[in-house]
Amino acid sequence: MTDDENRAVEKLQKKIRKLEAALKIVADHSGKAESRMRRQFEVVSETIPVPMIISNENDEIVFANLSAQKTFGHTPDDFSELSTASLYDHPDDRKLFLNILSDKGEVNAFRTELRKPDGSVFPAELFSQPIYFDVQDCILTVVHDLTEVMALEKQLRQTQKMEAIGTLASGIAHDFNNILAAIFGYAELVANLLELETDKRKKGYLDNLLKAASRGKSMIVQMMAFCRQTEKEKTPFHLSAIVDEVVKMMSNLTRSDIDIRSDIRNKEMIVMGDPTQIHQVVTNLITNSVHALSDKGGKIEVILEKAVMIEGQRGEILIPRLKPGTYARVTVKDDGPGIEKGIIHSIFDPFFTTKPVGQGSGMGLAMVHGIIQGHNGSVSVESEPRKGAAFHCYFPVTEDDDRDAKPDVEPESVGKGDEHILFVDDDLMVLEVCSELLQNMGYRVTSCEGSRKALKIFKSQPKDVDLVITDNAMPEMSGTALSQEIRKIRSDIPIILITGMLFEEESELKKTGFQAFIQKPFDQRKMESVIRDVLDAGKEV
């Protein structure tokens, strides 16, 4: 070989070595890039809490991330033996999904229902794009599980419905209170005019009238409990004592083929609230269960236990949703026929009942809901036809010590008086009947249907008035505002609020300057008693 040929060979050999080196560089680069991207894909797919599935053109699942394994309850091996179509509850949905993907090149928010191995079905939205994965053309599908979203939507709708019904019921209760106040007042005025011996028949009619009015009053009390308008001063008490008491009472009142048992798993829990109302909640729930078991008998269990709610906790749908914290949970469950799926979302609505006409007011569960909500708690129900029903009531647990609850004492008949009372109410019927009742008690009464007019009267003769009784909800000026104006003129004047609705607790009302309040509708004795107490207290000072 010549020198030139040798140089050419040497140059070619050098070129080949360099090409080999270049090939190695490219291969190393590709290998590193590929493993890095694969790792990134693995980290992302295993970290995101969203199910991801990759399927090939033969509908075989070639990859399912950790979230998909959890959501569907399949292992990676299970997935490799499944077809994508088998995850759909409706096979036609898969065909539609593939058509959209083929037409548009991607799928966005495709709503469907997917199936788990246990046969349960959950709502989902699918997002999908073609992808080249493990040397084949595939489809990447991201699954958005809508179970919780739909549960929250349902909860929100239910809460809004209950709020709207509450507002409506509260308005009706307010107007009814005024009507009932007039009925009670006039009936008592007529009763006062009757001679006990000679007017026995008329007295009987009046008694029936008052009984009917009392039933109306009781209905209003239930409606107001639903609207959370009857808040009394809350006291701490042991919930176990209430549960125990109600179970004993209901056991005694219920026929023997219905077995009512309590299971107190935590005896020490104290809740803040009105024990009478909680008593009512447990009684109503047991009464419903007793009714459910009336055909065949059965078992009712009342369980009291501690429940801890944590942030973002999934689970049963609670109305309203609870804040994280510790709760006392009272569960009333029976093994009766259960609640039909179609009506389960209406059972807390006022006046909703499955009982025959005349056998149920439909206020029982509405009251339960209202009372529990008034205690910052929540209620949920779980039931399936023929498998019984369970109501779970949650009450926030407090650390405060138990105190002896002050029982409501029926007022005794008290002495009458001759003081001068300025009586203010914008409802003419209430104004008229109350003025007359007060006059019958011996008081001198100036009645006034407007708050501004009442203020004018008081200004003109502040020393002449011994007591002001005023309504709260009045168009010109509220009773609270009127009392503040009157106090500016004479700070020591006692003022009683007469109201159909309680917007604040008793202690709150007193802060605004009222000495006492009379709840509409009221009876003569109650009115007499409150007025006398306030006037006598003023004299003692």
Partner: protein, 91 residues
């Protein structure tokens, strides 16, 4: 994929021809803003630019790189196997 780099290969050929004709002594390749390069791109730089630059008498090549991009940190230093006169500057 490789055909996408034909334009760049032609450009590199023009660069090498001009460097040779003008007897230039330094060729700078600035990759600092190149966030990603696939294997075809690496092959194009290696074969059409770096190896060709090595054949030009008296030419020194400099590659400006960025520490921010993993592919540059991992792959560019291996270009030294293709050319004797190479400076790699990372910023």
């Amino acid at each position: 994929m490789p055909e996408e780099y034909e334009e760049i290969e032609d450009f590199f050929e023009t660069v090498i021809n001009e460097v040779s004709e003008e007897n230039l002594t330094e060729l700078i390749l600035d990759l600092r803003a190149l966030t990603f390069l696939n294997s075809s791109g690496i092959k194009t730089i290696c074969v059409s630019l770096v190896m060709e630059a090595d054949d030009v008498e008296g030419l020194r090549m400099k590659i400006l790189c960025s520490n921010s991009f993993t592919w540059q940190v991992e792959t560019i230093p291996t270009f030294k196997d293709l050319i004797d006169n190479l400076d790699i500057v990372f910023e």
